[in-house]
Assembly symmetry: C2
Homo-oligomer: 379 residues x 2
């Protein structure tokens, strides 16, 4: 036998496997009012002509959007089927994923076909998980219909289902072929859900510079906060830019940059947990943003004047009641919950904190418990 | 608001997300007699010290290998737990994956911990699927204990479970951190299973040149076929080189090269299917190799003299009885089964066929049915 020397660094008893992705993977996040009616036209530019599309949506959206989207896709020549799952977090499970796989099997979907997730974060995460694993990966299109999904969960390639009471325990990193966001879907969103989503938007204002080098989004939000609905498209577009920038620099959460997206979340998770998820995620994030910023002021790393813009901004976005709930729980219990956050390093609570000016953040693991307790107590 | 121009190709209503893997991903396939006793020492070089390892194995191997491997890992400082699933193809299911996830939850495995698959193809595929999705991807180590797993399924990053009677329907592409193959495990493999694995080894002899540019493995196998056990390590090493070479050039089956690995498989799948999986995969591959080669001789693209080495080689490897079974089914029914192969393009049966000399193959979709039927009939 010739020496097995084809591959340069093979030794007598081991073979080196070295893998590189040579082609960059690209996709577009399109933000356009009325896009839902034109989904078919967008998909024609991306997907194989006359291929199959399975629309995944939930029971709340079925009547509202499914016929519209299905018609648009069929007019564009696609073979469309649909799978409707119960609305709500419970659908983010392996059991419901199995229902989606059954629909994929029935529709005989191949690797060249597509799953299109039409809905909020639950639908997006579930559609992504199923598309990433069916035939070891098929096409995925996100059509997010909530604010949180449009500015956050549909962008970046995180897919997941929950497992054994733990959120997002089973999932993949898997990028969609496109994200198609129609801001008009937000006009009929329940006000509470919209406000919760706006907390994540404010978060982008507070991390923009650290993520992209740009600034000004926080002030822009403050200026337009009286009538944000008039500028929803611009707002979503800017959030998508910031999120996309982070994901491009740290796709699989290995380089630290993606941590910035957790501003307000370590505080927030404690409130979500103690309220037994009676507080919406975005409402908890609003509390967390206010507390993280106040903590930075106490530490002397963030200007009081900028902090004083934040509470009024959150209030104008419908989050005043949420902010008031921050003193509903004993600080001690909140601190215990913060310690359980999986993003901590060992015993140190890892906090993302605003610094210098709105837009800039820093990671800190050295904040004394006494100061955290003070902030949790509303001081 | 400043123009959202951080990212060069952003337009007013869409954001371009462009992702590249900057770091190459590397891992080693180690082939060493006695490696099973030294698994811990190998893992220490790759994994985080004192991290957790969940060993996944099956009920047939539990008594035979689990204590040995567990002891080696514990001596090296790892925190070891185990999950034993029933031996057999039925364990490649979402239901059993859920059992593995339960074990992962119980062991509180984080992204920095490891699932180690100790077993054959079923265990490797299942371990890979679970490791690729737990926390969106944790460390994976393959310790293959069958010949097919050592030369084929543990290399290349394909993970899967079956779904709805369809093999490998749900899975991922996910590379392990290492493949640790101990040829000594083959000494106790049932002869039938060993012979089936050797059919895949012969396949490597017939595709070597097209995959790596090298040649000589087929002749080497022929020369050593009287006492292959004496050269198992070298044999496995060479197969691993060839498979690794293919995977490096075509990781996710998008460039065609990976098709070469299917030599003999289109014929073989038809026999597997008609025997209702009473014929082992490797046994069916042996039939497929013989038929594909005979077809090439009929087409005038492969030398008769080289073809005449093949049947004696397969016979010496214990596959004579398998070859005889090729006329047990009506050629018509076999052709129908071949048409259903998912690797076909439209109506054309896609065949990988030997060409010129052992080691070279070509993809053909233009072989007339009459000739395929003749070959299926043993002519």
């Amino acid at each position: 036998m010739p020496e097995p020397t084809t591959l340069p660094s093979q030794t007598r008893d081991s073979v080196l496997v070295c893998l590189t992705h040579q082609e960059p993977r690209e996709y577009r996040i399109v933000v356009q009012a009325g896009l839902l009616q034109r989904v078919g036209e967008e998909c024609v530019q991306i997907l194989e002509p006359n291929s199959k599309i399975l629309i995944l949506t939930d029971s709340n959206l079925e009547a509202k959007y499914l016929p519209l989207v299905q018609k648009s896709l069929e007019s564009a020549g696609f073979l469309v089927s649909s799978c409707v799952v119960p609305a709500g977090e419970e659908s983010k499970s392996l059991a419901v994923a199995q229902k989606v796989f059954e629909a994929a099997l029935k529709a005989n979907l191949s690797r060249k076909d597509t799953i299109l997730g039409l809905g909020g974060g639950v639908i997006g995460d579930l559609a992504g998980f199923c598309a990433s694993t069916w035939h070891r990966g098929m096409n995925l299109i996100h059509v997010p219909t909530t604010l949180v999904a449009q500015v956050d969960s549909a962008i970046g390639g995180k897919t997941a289902v929950n497992f054994g009471q733990v959120k997002n325990m089973v999932g993949t990193f898997y990028q969609p072929r496109a994200v198609l966001a129609d801001p008009e879907t937000l006009q009929t969103l329940p006000p509470r859900e919209l406000s919760a989503g706006l907390a994540e938007v404010v978060k982008y204002g507070l991390i923009e510079t650290s993520c992209t080098g740009e600034s000004g989004f926080f002030n822009w939000l403050f200026e337009h906060s009286g009538n944000l609905k008039a500028v929803f498209s611009q707002m979503i577009h800017r959030c998508a830019c910031i999120k996309a920038s982070v994901v491009m620099q740290d796709e699989t959460e290995t380089r630290g940059l993606r941590h910035f997206l957790n501003l307000g979340h370590t505080f927030g998770h404690a409130y979500e947990s103690l309220s037994e998820y009676g507080i919406l995620h975005g409402e908890a994030v609003a509390i967390g943003l206010e507390q993280a910023t106040r903590l930075s002021v106490h530490l002397g790393v963030f200007p009081q004047s900028a902090y004083e813009q934040l509470a009024p901004l959150l209030s104008r976005l419908g989050l005043a009641e949420s902010l008031k709930r921050q003193t509903s729980y004993p600080p001690d219990a909140l601190l215990v919950a913060m310690r359980q956050d999986k993003k901590n390093l060992g015993n140190h609570i890892r906090l993302i904190l605003p610094e210098q000016a709105p837009g800039r953040v820093v990671v800190r693991t050295d904040v004394p418990d006494s100061l955290i307790l003070q902030v949790l107590g509303g001081q």
